[in-house]
Amino acid sequence: MTRFILIALSLLFLGLMVILPVIAIFHRAFADGFGAYRAAILDPETLAAIRLTVIATLLVLPLNVIFGVAAAWAIARFRFVGRRVLLILIEIPFAVSPIVAGLCFLLIYGAYGPVGALLEPYGVQLMFNLTGIVLVSAFVTCPFVMREVLPVLMVTGEDEELAAVTLGANGWQIFRHVVLPNISWGLAYGVVLTMARAMGEFGAVSVVAGAIRGQTMTLPLQIELMYNDYNATGAFAAATVLTALALVTLVLRGVLNRFGPKREAHA
């Protein structure tokens, strides 16, 4: 009996709180018919926003992958002074809320910030453009790849790598033929998480993007703009794109969980 009540309550809660909002997105997007939806998606500003979001994500991804793998390697395989500090620093972005994160970047890299002011005479501007968007996206996604790769490296141990060293492999060969195959599932999951987060980041990006129409409007910012312009179909149509990406992320997560090696569950 308790079992049924608990299952029913859980389903009700999840249905009302999580599933219904997602259904509402698609309902509102198609409320004026498929033609209106199509027109809204093909709107030049929306397309420009989609393009910018994709470009920014593709720039963040390699940064994060290189950093995540490098950091995980150093932390998993070596003991050095400041190892714990490095771990804490990588986790900091989890504790910083989006608006605060954006503000931090503005205060250091903005025109009035110490670093921004230093670069300004050379005509280098870091905020209110693509660079700013990429930098804050790198901040909010900072721990994702490292967090997935580190446990895998810890579990696999270094025996195979040591064997490769004794066989005369150089650093790149060890990485390419021993480390990479071992960490590939963890790395893949980290990439999925990073992409999902980078494409959807709103608060931090809205602080540093400058919101120049057709230029620095990422898709989430464009959704806000259209929503505030009472362009509900446009906003919800654009939202379906990001919702679909979120659903794909969940499916990929399920696939990696089922077919990948067993991972530790984490929040």
Partner: protein, 280 residues
């Protein structure tokens, strides 16, 4: 930073490269921005700080943010525990799907969540129109802020509690049953007690997330100064007015609160686990 040799000399390559990349990245992406905020804060005199933080508008924004986050966290604690329990202990059709959907709020961009929630709870929305008949208004009120916070932070509560339930031994519950413990006793003493450290982590993360949430909240919040304005939005408003010191003061306060909370959770969790272990 130099490598401290362990028992065997390190033969694996890549320490300097891995460490070099890590330090460069962390410095540019994490350390410098955070010190940017600290640098701005350092230029404030204590009197400036007090003046900014004691204004009625800031105090109201903080109160709205913290009370809504607390309420959302309470609800997430209860439902997070329930969802985690149901997903771990029961097998039913669609369990895998439900398990995957718990992560949806984490995967869904916050701005998308924001417009979805407001369209649902608006007076013309599916839920808003029903609530309206009873004279209840959620959208553009404190309640809407709370709902948005529940939405974005529920995965944190569930995912923190779930692994701990997986480690619980159902035999102990059965043993308690044979020893004559009633349902409430079994739940409190055999189930809830060993879960407390992870529940604490779950609600702690949920609260920190709720406190800083922006995208999901601002659409449904109404954003009326002195009424339904959250702290994050006020930071953005001060920023638009180029009042950097005020923005930094509010942001620094929020950041300090999150850091204190996270450290406290960590400490409490370690202590609790040690206590539970010594208790056997």
């Amino acid at each position: 930073m130099t490598a401290i040799p362990r028992s065997t000399p390190r033969v694996l390559p890549g320490l300097s490269l891995g460490l070099g990349i890590s330090i460069l990245f962390v410095t540019l992406i994490v350390l410098l921005p955070i010190s940017g905020l600290l640098w701005q804060l350092a230029q404030l005199t204590p009197a400036d700080y007090v003046r900014v933080m004691s204004s009625e508008r800031v105090l109201t924004a903080l109160r709205v943010t913290l009370t809504a986050a607390a309420a959302a966290t309470l609800i997430n604690g209860v439902f997070g525990l329930m969802l985690a329990w149901v997903l771990t202990r029961y097998r039913f059709a669609g369990r895998g799907l439900i398990d995957a959907l718990v992560d949806l709020p984490f995967a869904l961009p916050t701005a998308v969540a924001g417009i979805a929630l407001v369209s649902l709870y608006d007076r013309s929305g599916w839920l808003g129109s029903i609530l309206d008949k009873f004279g209840l208004q959620v959208a553009y009120t404190w309640w809407g802020i709370m709902i948005a916070m529940i939405f974005t932070s529920i995965p944190f509560a569930v995912r923190a509690i779930q692994p701990a339930i997986e480690e619980l031994d159902p035999d102990e519950e059965a043993a308690a049953l044979t020893l004559g413990a009633n349902g409430v006793q079994r739940f409190l003493r055999v189930v809830l007690r060993p879960l407390m450290p992870s529940i604490l982590t779950g609600v702690g993360l949920s609260f920190v997330r709720s406190m800083g949430e922006f995208g999901a909240v601002i659409f449904i919040a109404g954003n009326l100064p002195y009424k339904t304005e959250i702290a994050s939005l006020l930071i953005l408003i001060r920023l638009d007015e180029f009042d950097y010191p005020a923005a930094a003061a509010i942001a620094g306060t929020l950041l300090l609160l999150s850091v204190i909370l996270l450290v406290a959770i960590n400490l409490a969790q370690t202590r609790m686990q040690r206590y539970l272990r010594t208790e056997g």
